[in-house]
């Protein structure tokens, strides 16, 4: 029997993950990470700070007969995730805060403190699998492809894999709910959280207004322009837009129009047709390889460019500090700031942040 640290958010998934570890005979230590303060007044930490999640996780831990602690990671989380989130929008990009959190905050803290608490393994309720075909542990997509969360975990350091357990990797969401009901867990019927945890209202512009200087260019009015430079209208700040977005552009176009680019320097939001949205060359930075060997130029991989988007075929053109990918078909909404995650079949090779995307015709021209 080993001692396992399990991250419990207070949701049904991590509740069931903890329950499965208990059933498997491990000594389980539950922990909830306190990441931020809704009211932004840390001095009164007892009355805010995602307390519902903490309370739910505690109830489940009590019911399972395991200990439960709270890890306060607010300082790290604010620096590594919230500040980055704000900075990315301020640059006209669209961040993946959950990726940042997993790569920089959550797993690092769990590993570090897990060791201090004498834990051999770290577990979470992510829908991903650790496969070991004899050549060491590999990260792979969860069995339930509709819930698969591998897109969020490309930033895990490879050396962590031997220490990780993902008890839900082989289950479907339906099965997880059934287990939670069978065990009468307090979180069994809790609805899925869709929002970014530190934007509970769903309106991230509010957060930007609070954390950016009111006069920040990202929040200032600017022009909506066509790909040929014609001004088509005005916007209230480019931070409110993301590449591929269709809503919020006003009407009056003869065919559906999408945001195809954000130009922070000129405060311009460029719109175009679906055809104009397509990109097939992608430069990816801030790379991390979950597999020991990065792919070599010429390698054929599949790449996922958005959460819930299907992976598409691509060829590696160059790899170093950055990665250059050539997509087989142009893809819509290849968005700077989002993650590009590389797979071989179901296995996660690694990934990075999308820096830029072009049409091959532009590049060769």
């Amino acid at each position: 029997m080993s001692r396992v640290l399990v991250a419990m958010s207070g949701g049904v998934d991590s509740s069931v993950a903890a329950a499965l570890l208990v059933e498997a005979g491990h000594e389980v230590v539950g922990v909830t990470m306190k990441t931020f303060c809704y009211s932004e007044t840390p001095a009164h930490g007892k009355t805010c700070c995602g307390l519902d999640g903490i309370a739910d996780a505690k109830r489940v831990a009590d019911a399972l007969g395991i200990v439960h602690y709270v890890f306060d990671v607010e300082e790290d989380f604010t620096r590594d995730v919230i500040d980055d989130f704000v900075a990315e929008y301020a640059r006209g990009r669209t961040p993946n805060p959950c990726v940042r959190c997993n790569s920089n905050t959550k797993f690092r803290d769990l590993m570090a403190r897990g060791r201090l608490l004498g834990c051999d393994r770290i577990a979470t309720g992510h829908y991903v699998r650790i496969e070991d075909g004899g050549e060491g542990p590999r990260l792979a997509r969860g069995r339930d492809l509709s819930k698969d969360q591998s897109y969020f975990l490309w930033g895990l350091p490879a050396e962590m894999l031997p220490h990780l357990l993902f008890p839900l990797g082989a289950l479907t969401k339906t099965e997880v709910r059934e287990r939670a009901r069978a065990l009468a867990l307090a979180t069994a019927e809790k609805p899925e959280s869709q929002e970014i945890c530190f934007v509970p209202t769903g309106d991230y512009r509010d957060l930007l207004r609070r954390r950016l200087d009111g006069a920040h260019p990202a929040l200032e009015p600017g022009a909506i322009v066509a790909t040929d430079g014609r001004e088509l209208g005005r916007h209230e700040g480019f931070a409110g837009f993301t590449v591929g977005q269709r809503r919020g552009l006003g009407g009056g176009f003869s065919e559906p129009m999408y945001v195809v680019e954000i130009r922070p320097g000129a405060r311009e939001v460029v719109v175009g047709t679906r055809e104009e949205l397509g990109r097939d060359v992608v430069r990816v930075g801030e790379l991390n390889w979950v597999e020991a060997e990065p792919p070599v130029p010429g390698a054929r991989v599949s790449v996922q460019l958005r959460y819930r988007a299907p992976a598409v075929e691509a060829e590696v053109e160059a790899v170093g500090d950055e990665l250059l990918l050539r997509l087989r078909e142009p893809q819509p909404a290849v968005t700077p700031g989002q993650s590009a995650v590389l797979f071989t079949g179901d296995r996660v090779l690694g990934g990075g942040r999308i820096e830029r995307a072009w049409r091959v015709s532009d590049v060769s021209a």
Binding site: R113, L116, L117
Partner: protein
């Protein structure tokens, strides 16, 4: 290893004698002490017996004992009640207290400052428990004052110079309150000698029931009640009396005071072997307040560990139940105002409070040292390597 409870300063187990004394009042003798019938008379008699008991043990009059529902309530009634009574009658007193008081005193004083405009002075205390008496005199000068100074600090066990400070204060006509929650049964305690006007004690720190306590109010000291209702406890603490609680408190107090000298010797022995063993096992460990006079049941350590919150969790997982600074800041981590007051706000040490009590043996204390050494070694391999 069986889990070790070394957190008696947070709360302590109920003594069987106390439980037995309380039992009839949780059962057949359930009456309301304010009722005039047989049940009520029985309850009232038990309540007054308990009051007389407490008064006798403390060497004061029964009419000077108010039963309240714990230490925090007692502290609040003393500070807020005396401050408001002063305000009603002449001028509100200046509140003079120390930076190491329990939150029940500090927060009450700060609340009076924010909400009602009280003038508050918080005096520094040195790491060996000394108070700058010149600063105290200065704080007491020129205005009516209420001095609130704790007898024994709950986080470090440091004994504060209550009698000396009280003499200074009374010579200037100030009222004096002491929170003696951690002193009762741990050090010799004499209200006559300490010469205080108000004294707080609580049941659950002396193997009595939780939610019980008293405020000693010297005859002639005027308070305003915080609650308003049926006039119980001379109108200062209205609400149906907790007879079982009062009986339990009185029983626990009598036992604690009767056994004080013997249990102090026993705890002193345990604490010194604990302290020696810790210093041998963990180079760089500091015993907080060790240079000053201390009550025998607390050993607060400063350990060379960055992540104090994880240290407490690790000790818990290995079966050693202790606190950070105090048990009041649970949940997420929170630093101690007492350690900051004694050692500065940037003190790099992690604070762990071990506190001993009924049933603690020297073997328990030494077993806890072995666990602590192993756990601290995980945090900084250097700290444990030097040990044998």
């Amino acid at each position: 290893m069986d889990p070790l409870y070394l957190d008696h300063a947070a709360t302590s187990p109920l003594r069987p004698e106390v439980r037995e004394a309380m039992a009839p009042f949780l059962d057949a003798r359930f009456g309301n002490a304010s009722s005039r019938h047989r049940w009520g008379r029985e309850a009232a008699a038990a309540l007054e017996d308990a009051r007389a008991d407490v008064a006798e043990v403390l060497g004061v009059r029964p009419s000077e004992i108010l039963f309240v529902r714990g230490g925090t309530e007692s502290d609040n009634l003393a500070l807020v009640g005396a401050w408001r009574a002063g305000r009603s009658r002449s001028a509100p007193p200046r509140l003079v207290t120390t930076a190491v008081e329990h939150s029940a005193v500090l927060e009450a004083a700060r609340w009076l400052r924010e909400a009602e405009g009280a003038e508050v002075r918080e005096l520094d205390v040195s790491p060996d428990g000394r108070l700058d008496l010149d600063a105290l005199e200065e704080a007491l000068d020129g205005t009516p004052a209420l001095l609130s100074i704790m007898s024994v600090n709950n986080e470090t066990g440091l004994r504060l110079p209550v009698a000396e400070a009280a003499a200074l204060a009374r010579a200037r006509g100030a009222l004096v309150h002491t929170d003696a929650a951690q002193a009762v049964g741990k050090i010799p305690l004499s209200i006559a000698e300490a010469s205080v006007d108000l004294l707080t004690a609580t049941g659950h720190k002396i193997n009595g029931p939780k939610g019980t306590g008293i405020l000693f109010v010297r005859e002639g000291t005027v308070l305003e009640p915080l609650l308003h209702g049926g006039g119980q406890e001379r109108g200062l603490r209205p609400g149906t009396e907790d007879v079982a609680g009062a009986v339990g408190f009185a029983c626990a107090l009598r036992l604690a005071v009767a056994e004080q000298a013997e249990s102090a010797r026993r705890l002193e022995t345990i604490r010194s072997s604990f302290g020696r063993a810790i210093r041998d096992a963990i180079p760089g460990a500091r015993v907080n307040g060790s240079g000053g006079p201390r009550a025998p049941h607390v050993s607060s350590l400063g350990l060379p560990v960055e992540d104090g919150a994880a240290l407490l969790m690790a000790l818990d997982l290995e079966g050693v139940a202790v606190s950070g600074g105090s048990a009041c800041h649970s949940g997420a981590e929170s630093s101690s105002h007492v350690i900051a007051a004694l050692y500065g706000p940037d003190d790099p040490m992690a604070t762990v409070r071990f506190s001993f009590g009924l049933g603690t043996t020297e073997e328990d204390a030494l077993a806890a040292v072995a666990v602590t050494r192993e756990v601290v070694g995980r945090f900084s391999p250097r700290a444990a390597r030097a040990a044998p």
